[in-house]
Amino acid sequence: MRALFFIAAFLIAPQAWALETTTSLLFQSEGRLISDSKANPGNRVARLPARLVQVEGRVDANYSLPWLEIVARPRVEAGLYWVNGVSENSAAGFFQEAYLRAPVTEDFSITAGRLQFGWGPAESVSPSNWMVPEIQWQPSPYYEQLGVYRVQANLSAGQDFSLILINEFQPLPDRLDSRSEVVPESFRKRALAKAEWSWDSGNYILGFTGGRERLQPGELWRGGAYGSITISDAWQIYGDGVARETANTWKSFSVLGVRYTAEGGAEFRLEGIHRGEGLTRDQRANQALLFSRANDSTLAALLAAQFERLQGREYAYAAFRWANPPFLPGNFQTPILFLRALHSLSDHSTSFLGGVEVGFLGYFSTTLYGAVATGPTGGELKNLYDGMFGVAGKVTF
C-alpha cells in the first residue's frame, strides 16, 4: 500500500506530463441468418445468437512523462442476445490494451503489458506474426482485437531499420465476462524476434521473424519473412510467410498479394493464401461429422472461433476499399466503402463482407455492414452463417 502511495506521488510530482483521453459510446444491432450445417445442426452445438443488441463504452487514456508512457484502453459492454428463440443477456469488462512503455533512449524502448503489435503487408492474414489470430473476419469496422500480454523491446536505427524482441507472459484472465462466444485460447508461451529493413523511403521493405512457442509436449520453432515492393504509385506486390515446426515436420503458411490503387484513390487487393497444415476437403468433412456428434461447449467454441482461425488449405481473398468516394454527399465526413471476399479453394465456400462507414459533426460515425456466405452446405465459410446484417453507431467525446 505504501509502495502504491509512493508510485502515485511520484507520478503526480511536478514534471512535464500530459494526459490525453478519448471516450466513446458504441451501439450495435445485428441480425444473423444461422446455417443449418452438419457441424452445427439446428444451432444446437454453437448456440449462436440470431439477433443481438450491444452497447459498449470505450476509454482510451494515455498518460505520458518524459521517461514513461502509460496506456489503458478499458472497455465495458452489455448485450441482449436471442439464441434459438430464447433471450439472454451479458455484461463484460476488459482491457483491450493496458501497458507501460519506457523510452530508454530515442532509439530504444521497452514496453510491457497487454498490447497489440502488428505488421505485414497483406490485408487478410499476417503469417509471420503468430501472436495475433490468423484472420480477423469481422464485418464491423468497430471490431477490436484484444492485445497480447507481452514484454517487448524496440530498437531502431534511423527510419530504415528496426529490431523487435517479444516475449509473451502468462496472461491474466481475458475478460470478466458473463457470456462469451469464444473460449480463451489455452496459454502458450511464445517468443519472437523481428528485424525489418526498408529502402528508398519504404518502396522496398524486407523483414524476418524467428522464434518458438512452447506447446505440450515440446517446443516448436518458427521462421518467417515478409516484404513488399512498391512498383509505382498504383501497384504494389507483397508476400508474407512462415514455416512452422510441427511434430518434427515443417509446415508453411503464406500469402502473396497485389494491390492496385486507381486515380481516385479506390484500392483493390487480390491475395492467395496457402496454409500447409490446413485440412483437406475430406478431413474437413470428417471434422464436421465429429462436431455434429458432440454437444460440448469447447467444440462449440472452436467452431465459433472460425472467425479467427482458418481450417482449410488454400484461399483466395479479394478486397475493395474506397475512402472519400466522390458520389457521397459532401456533409458525410471521411466516408469509407469496403467490400471483401474470402473464398476457400478447398471446398468452394465463400464469405462476402461489405459496408459503408460515414462520420458526422466531428464526433459521430455510423456504419451499415453485412455479410453473405455461399457455397456447399457444410463448407468452411458457410458453416456458421448464411448471412448477417448490422448497424452500428459511435459517439466520441
Binding site: 490525453e20 478519448t22 482510451d60 508512457e69 484502453r73 490494451e97 501497458y99 512503455r101 530515442e106 532509439d107 524502448s109 514496453t111 498490447l115 497489440q116 503489435f117 502488428g118 505488421w119 505485414g120 503487408p121 499476417s126 495475433v132 477490436e144 482485437q145 517487448q152 524496440n154 531502431s156 534511423g158 527510419q159 531499420f161 528496426s162 523487435i164 525489418e196 526498408s198 523511403s201 519504404g202 518502396n203 513488399s228 512498391t230 509505382s232 504509385d233 498504383a234 504494389q236 490503387t261 486507381a262 484513390g265 484500392e267 475512402a323 472519400n324 459532401g330 456533409n331 465526413q333 471521411t334 462520420g359 459533426l361 466531428g362 464526433y363 459521430f364 460515425s365 459511435k394 466520441t396
Partner: protein, 243 residues
C-alpha cells in the same frame, strides 16, 4: 508568309526564353528551393500545429513534426479522429489508428484523398519533386512574381502538374493551381505568410486556402508558429508508430 509576320509570331516565344535571364541569377530550381523554406521543406527539425477546415465541418487539428522529407502528423481533433497518426516517409504514407492491429500503408495515389489531400498536411518539397520552368511574370496581390510551371519528376507525388506563383522580393509561393493530367486546374490555392522560421527572419506559411474547382468547396489549412526541435530519425520508423 512575310518574314516580318514570321518574326512577330515568334517574338513571344523568344521573349519567354529570355525570362530565366531576366530572373537574374535565379534559376527556376533555386526559386523553388527558396520558396520551399517558407513552407517547411528541407527543414532540419521543426514542429508546428495545423488546423484543417473544410466548408462548414468541424476543423481537424494536427501536431506535425518535420525533418527533411519525413513528416509525422498526429490528429488531435475532432474527437472522432483523435489519435490517428499519418507518417510520410518521403512520398510513402502510413496511417495508424489507436487500437488497430497494425499501421496501414496507403498508396501514393491516396495522398490525394479528401478535400485537402493527405499530401497537403505534409510539408512541401517542390524543388526535389518537380522540374520547374518560368512561364511568365505577373503581379499577385500587388507584388511582382514569377509564374512557374512545375512538372512532377516522378509519378508518386501528390500533384502531377502545378502552376505556381513565387514573389520576386522574398521568394514566397503565394498562389498555386493544381492541374489534372490534361493540364486543367482542379484545385486553386492561396498562401499567407504570417510567421517566421525560428531563429531567422524568413517568413513562414500561416494559412493555405484550397478551393475545389468543380464543387467550389473551400478548405483552409491554418499553420501555427513553427518551433525548432531536435527530432531523431527513429521517430519516422513505421515500426515505432505503435509500440
Amino acid at each position: 508568309m512575310m518574314a516580318r509576320e514570321v518574326f512577330l509570331m515568334r517574338l513571344p516565344f523568344c521573349l519567354l526564353l529570355l525570362i530565366p535571364l531576366a530572373a537574374g541569377a535565379q534559376t527556376p530550381a533555386s526559386i523553388l528551393e527558396k520558396s520551399d523554406r517558407s513552407r517547411g521543406g528541407a527543414s532540419s527539425g521543426i514542429s508546428w500545429k495545423i488546423s484543417l477546415k473544410a466548408g462548414e465541418s468541424q476543423a481537424s487539428e494536427y501536431d506535425v513534426k518535420v525533418k527533411g522529407v519525413n513528416v509525422l502528423a498526429k490528429c488531435t481533433a475532432p474527437a472522432r479522429q483523435k489519435g490517428e497518426t499519418f507518417l510520410f516517409n518521403d512520398r510513402n504514407l502510413w496511417i495508424h489508428k489507436p487500437g488497430l492491429k497494425k499501421p496501414v500503408s496507403l498508396s501514393p495515389r491516396q495522398r490525394l484523398s479528401g478535400q485537402a489531400a493527405n499530401g497537403d498536411i505534409a510539408t512541401t518539397n517542390y524543388a526535389r519533386d518537380y522540374e520547374a520552368k518560368v512561364e511568365d511574370e505577373e503581379t499577385v496581390g500587388g507584388k511582382p512574381a514569377w509564374k512557374l510551371f512545375l512538372q512532377a519528376k516522378e509519378k508518386n507525388v501528390t500533384y502531377d502538374k502545378i502552376r505556381y506563383w513565387v514573389t520576386k522580393k522574398d521568394f514566397l509561393g503565394v498562389k498555386a493551381e493544381f492541374l489534372t493530367l490534361e493540364g486543367k486546374p482542379f484545385k486553386l490555392a492561396n498562401f499567407t505568410y504570417g510567421h517566421t522560421l525560428p531563429g531567422s527572419k524568413v517568413p513562414f506559411v500561416s494559412q493555405m486556402e484550397i478551393r475545389d474547382v468543380s464543387s467550389g468547396e473551400t478548405t483552409t489549412i491554418t499553420y501555427g508558429a513553427p518551433r525548432a526541435e531536435e527530432i531523431g530519425d527513429s521517430l519516422f520508423n513505421v515500426n515505432n508508430l505503435q509500440r
